[in-house]
């Protein structure tokens, strides 16, 4: 199967073409300035390097979030539109799980997180077993780092951390978990991780409804929902 995987959930821009597990071409830049400008040219280049025409791609794999709202939307919009217009498969994978999949260590917990400011993070907790298999045990969520560390104190295993603002959290983490905390200097998801997860993920059935995993309501909607507890969600968008 020919897969094209893309991830723009944070600063890195990643595009990879793979035939099953074999990576044929990739583009990866850790600090790309403008994902909206650079994503399509990167897709074009990688596809060309793989020797494919656009309509030969069987499956589009996209890191669906969490992450930067705008960043995730860029890849999600491109991926869903490509899958739809070429009539191909689409799968969405967790941006955090994709990063956690980089870790191939002794069994333990893997905690990838994206800084969401004010000591809040988007994070998930994944169990890594002796067969190098990864299972999600605490769902990806928007959480205060202190609360996350309290949860992690309940376990006795080593905890591997990957974060995009690790230095800001290093002291907090080591204070809470002492020697159990292993901070990995890993900057971005590996393309192989995106492909591995992309091969396993369930197909998206409703391409039109497919959206980023934001894990956080907008401020405006939170305030509104608080003031209107009795109003159930209705269809807010309509054709005119």
């Amino acid at each position: 199967m020919k897969l094209l995987a893309i991830d723009t959930s944070n600063a890195p821009l990643i595009v990879a073409a793979a035939h099953d597990n074999k990576i044929l071409a990739q583009f990866s830049n850790i600090n790309q300035k403008a994902h909206s400008a650079d994503l399509m040219p990167a897709i074009q280049t990688v596809t060309k390097q793989a020797g494919w025409q656009p309509n030969e791609i069987d499956r589009f794999v996209v890191a669906q979030g969490p992450g930067s709202f705008t960043g995730v939307r860029i890849a999600v919009t491109a991926a869903k539109m490509l899958a739809w217009t070429l009539n191909k498969e689409l799968v969405g994978i967790s941006s955090l799980q994709a990063w956690a999949r980089n870790v191939h260590e002794q069994p333990g917990l893997v905690v990838p997180f994206f800084d969401a400011r004010h000591q809040n993070v988007f994070a998930g907790v994944y169990q890594l077993n002796q067969h190098d298999e990864l299972t999600n045990i605490i769902p990806d969520q928007h959480i205060n780092m202190n609360n996350l560390l309290l949860e992690l104190q309940k376990y006795n295993e080593p905890v591997y951390f990957l974060g995009n603002n690790l230095l800001d959290y290093r002291d907090l983490i080591t204070q809470a978990l002492k020697q159990r905390a292993i901070i990995l200097n890993d900057q971005q998801p590996d393309v192989a991780s995106l492909i591995t997860l992309g091969l396993q993920a369930d197909l998206v059935r409703d391409l039109n409804a497919f959206s980023p995993t934001y894990l956080r309501q907008t401020q405006a909607e939170m305030v509104w929902a608080k003031d209107h507890p009795q109003v159930s969600t209705t269809n807010y968008v309509e054709d005119v």
Partner: protein
Amino acid sequence: MAKDVLILAFESSCDETSVAVVKNGREVLSNIIATQIKSHQRFGGVVPEVASRHHVQQIIHCTDLALKQAQVAYEDLAAVAVTYGPGLVGSLLIGLMGAKAISWAHDLPLIGVNHLAGHIYAANLVTPIKYPAMALVVSGGHTELVRVSAPGDFVILGDTRDDAVGEAFDKVGRMLGVNYPAGKTIDQWAQIGQDTFNFPRAMLEEDNLDFSFSGIKSAVINTIHHADQIGQTLNKKDIAASFQADVIDILVTKTKWALEKYPAQQLIVAGGVAANSGLRQRLQQEFAQQLEVVFPPLRLCGDNAAMIGAFAYIKYQKHQFATLNLNADPSLDFDYETLE
């Protein structure tokens, strides 16, 4: 005979997701518009992050319908066009990524369109634009007098120094208890009420073609506050009529000055506020004798992709294509008239 040029156009600069198929820049084969007004009414105005989230879930639906209604396949298309500015960056990006995906997937040329050029070229979907034309662009985000001397040749003669005219309608509407967008209700009330307040006509003492609407907005707000303080109830219909009369006076006067200085064959009134019936009447009265006044139908006045396809045809003819690294430009504008 030359082959028909069919363009698939995208527009998502604010709170409408729209996709259209336009033939030869003149004929609308489809023009699907999904509006988010109901959503943003919860907040009294457009919330950018909410708008972006809605767009993601409309883009395929709109594209699918646009192609189906027009009964065209990708091989029938000559190009893909998209609004790349001005507008809300997060919103613009959805149309942009969607258009670029289709452009690459089907090897179709990409055309980036200025949203304001689109508004003006909505006129071309009604009647051929005659050059030089004068355009009065009035919407929630813009108030500009633009000279169109030749196809795709725009120069701004006058611009608002503060609020856009549609923005002033919404703010005054809020003071009168009218939900966003307030233009339609104020227009209806203005037909019933009288201009009893005679608010100041801003910028008419200045010898230029610029606009200002924050003063009139403040005058209305102060009048309402003052009445509240002394326990007086004002007739909302009269306030609406007074406000609208003021705004129309300013727009009409500046347009008249612009046409005196830069004679034109056509006056094009574009943008959401071009739907205002009071404005339509006054502009007809003032100018219909001297030149052709073009008002696009209501559906083409608000944000829509057909107008983007209309202007994209001009760029197609000039071979002005974009590359796949086309980015959103939230503050995209035309050139300004240089002062001599």
